[in-house]
């Protein structure tokens, strides 16, 4: 009898941690701005112990301790913060870094979302790793729903319209394939003229823009007021359909990060041409 009791106790001690799902870590360090935004959206703002220099949304994120840049975070700073969990992303953080953090015995989660479609499931994964599966599911559902209704609601006027999204006017850097922006355009039924480029943010030839004559040009928000900066470029493009029809729009940078604000970003793009 006692032997059975002892066995049950021993099994229980092993089973207990397995039965208890991931506990929400008390101190989380985020190494990507979009992850930071998602953490705040999941209500985990006060559990964030550290962010990168570029995590600037929401406002509270700027007040969190800084562990360095996205491509060169400081391991020292990070370890000194004594985190229970570090979240890296596949887009921007050096791959080796996750290994180095793990070698210090700190649990590391890799946020894997490269496209808009992967965002809801990545959020769910993150949610269960952080012990907030219901909130993550709620957020993921909202985003997923917005994406699918947007996809279904193509306005006939905007179908097949040629567009270009300018990240920086001089030198001309645009959003190419593999970016959230390109995904958004496909979702809205637009045709990104830079979609056949070889890299996500290529330096694009102004000549090509003149030749392709897009119907709309979007300028994403930079850290500077983009309107005066874009004048030189728009002058060269004065023969292009978008410029002639006044379909040049200055939009925000919401689509630059795969996070909760992408939905607003997509709505913003859609509103311009509808």
């Amino acid at each position: 009898m006692t032997r059975i009791a002892v066995c049950i106790v021993i099994l229980a001690t092993f089973a207990f941690p397995l039965a208890c799902d991931a506990e929400t870590p008390g101190r989380i360090v985020s190494l990507a701005p979009n992850v930071t935004e998602i953490l705040f959206a999941l209500g985990l703002g006060d559990r964030i112990a550290g962010v990168t220099t570029f995590c600037d949304y929401p406002e509270e994120a700027k007040r969190k301790p800084n562990v360095g840049g996205i491509s060169n975070p400081s391991l020292e700073r990070l370890v000194a913060l004594k985190p229970d969990m570090v979240i890296v992303s596949t887009d921007g953080n050096p791959k080796v870094f996750a290994e180095r953090v793990r070698s210090h015995g700190i649990p590391t989660f890799v946020f894997r979302a490269r496209t808009l479609r992967e965002l809801p499931s990545a959020i769910r994964e993150l949610g269960s790793a952080l012990g907030v599966p219901e909130r993550a599911d709620h957020l993921a559902q909202n985003i997923g729903l917005a994406l699918s209704t947007r996809f279904a609601r193509h306005s006939p006027a905007s179908q097949g319209k040629k567009v270009l999204f300018v990240i920086w006017p001089e030198p001309l850097i645009v959003a190419g394939p593999g970016t959230a922006i390109d995904d958004a355009m496909k979702l809205l039924g637009y045709r990104n003229i830079a979609a056949d480029s070889r890299s996500p943010y290529p330096k694009y030839a102004v000549e090509q823009v003149i030749l392709q004559s897009p119907d709309a040009i979007f300028f994403g928000k930079g850290h500077r007021d983009m309107e005066p900066l874009s004048r030189g470029l728009l002058k060269k493009l004065s023969g292009v359909t978008a410029v002639k029809d006044r379909h040049v729009f200055f939009v925000s940078d919401r689509l630059y990060r795969l996070g909760p604000r992408v939905v607003e970003g997509i709505e913003e793009l859609a509103a311009c041409l509808e």
């Binding site: 570029f54 840049g69 996205i70 491509s71 060169n72 921007g92 990240i167 920086w168 001089e170 030198p171 001309l172 850097i173 830079a194 480029s197 070889r198 890299s199 943010y201 290529p202 330096k203 694009y204 030839a205 102004v206 000549e207 090509q208 003149i210 030749l211 004559s213 930079g222 850290h223 500077r224 005066p228 900066l229 004048r231 030189g232 002058k235 060269k236 004065s238 023969g239």
Partner: protein, 323 residues
């Protein structure tokens, strides 16, 4: 050089320039110009080709003059630290994001940095009432190291976007060529060029040594200062227009001397012309290889220039500055 080869090379120059205007990510047939093609020619390609010609002219001339001035065949205008000065101030502009002057902002800051550094280098090499060639080289190299370190420092603390734009600019970016910049660029570059051409005889004399030049009737100190100022103006303007494009200042004068001898009255104008043509060609290649992306011209000149230079080296001992 015979009549025939001179005409051949001249025709080659004209051909390269014409092709630069007509080829690129899209080929234009001059006999059937559509409206967008005309736009491209006038708004994009023409200023770009003119910028390339001006920059190549500036670098070719500066290289030829500098090689004579310091009596060293390996001299290149960037050895003077001028390019590093320009790169540093342009990088600061790009990374901090100062665009007060609109499209002029980055070129202006590049020009300012370049001029400041050449003034410093000139002052550092000033001894006994003149610029000493040996001090010039050492001061330039020393300052270059310092400035490069500062640029690397800036890059290490910047965002990805900032770094990318800086690296693109520093590797030579002719896509920023624009009509408003050209008048200012031409003033400095053509000014420096004509200054060098008029002092070409003095440069020939300087190559023989200070004492001989003096006995031939040239005011050695003044000639050196004038030529140094010419080099500074041309190089600063060139870097301001399109970033750092290497090899032209080093290789083109040697190629010209290989075909036309070492008389600077010929070498200087020919280096100007073929420097321009070379850069035009390099830019054409950079634009046409992986459209619609553009390979920075500085990379193309290095990739094309260095093997050719090594080839010339193996053919015969061309590393002389005087015949």
């Amino acid at each position: 050089m015979s009549r025939v080869s001179s005409i051949f090379f001249l025709l080659l120059a004209i051909l390269v320039i014409a092709l630069s205007l007509l080829l690129g990510s899209h080929s234009i047939n001059p006999l059937h110009l559509s409206a967008p093609e005309r736009e491209i020619l006038v708004a994009v390609r023409l200023p770009r080709v003119i910028t390339a010609l001006l920059m190549g002219m500036a670098l070719g001339t500066s290289g030829a003059v500098l090689q004579g001035l310091v009596r060293n065949p390996l001299a290149d205008p960037y050895i003077l630290g001028i390019s590093s000065g320009a790169a540093l101030s342009a990088s600061i502009g790009l990374l901090v994001g100062v665009y007060v002057f609109g499209t002029f902002s980055i070129p202006l800051s590049a020009f300012f940095g370049a001029s400041l550094i050449s003034a410093i280098v000139g002052i550092l090499s000033w001894r006994r009432g003149t610029i000493l060639p040996e001090r010039l080289l050492l001061a330039g190299v020393g300052l270059s190291f310092l400035l490069h370190a500062v640029i690397m420092l800036l890059i290490s603390v910047s965002s990805q976007e900032g770094i990318r734009r800086t690296v693109l600019w520093v590797s030579g970016d002719l896509s920023l060529a624009d009509w408003p910049l050209l008048p200012y660029g031409s003033v400095f570059i053509l000014g420096g060029f004509f200054l060098s051409v008029f002092r070409a005889k003095a440069l020939n004399a300087l190559l023989l040594g200070d004492e001989i030049a003096h006995s031939l009737g040239f005011a050695v100190h003044r000639e050196r200062l004038i030529l140094f100022v010419a080099i500074s103006l041309m190089t600063s303007a060139s870097v301001a227009l399109g970033g750092i494009i290497g090899f032209i200042g080093l290789v083109v004068p040697h190629m010209v001397r290989f075909f036309a001898g070492a008389d600077n009255r010929l070498v200087i104008p020919l280096s100007a012309l073929y420097g321009g043509v070379f850069l035009c060609g390099a830019d054409l290649i950079g634009r046409s290889v992986l459209p619609p992306m553009e390979i920075p011209s500085g990379i193309v000149t290095a990739l094309v220039g260095s093997p050719y230079f090594l080839y010339l080296l193996s053919k015969r001992n061309i590393l002389t500055v005087s015949s």
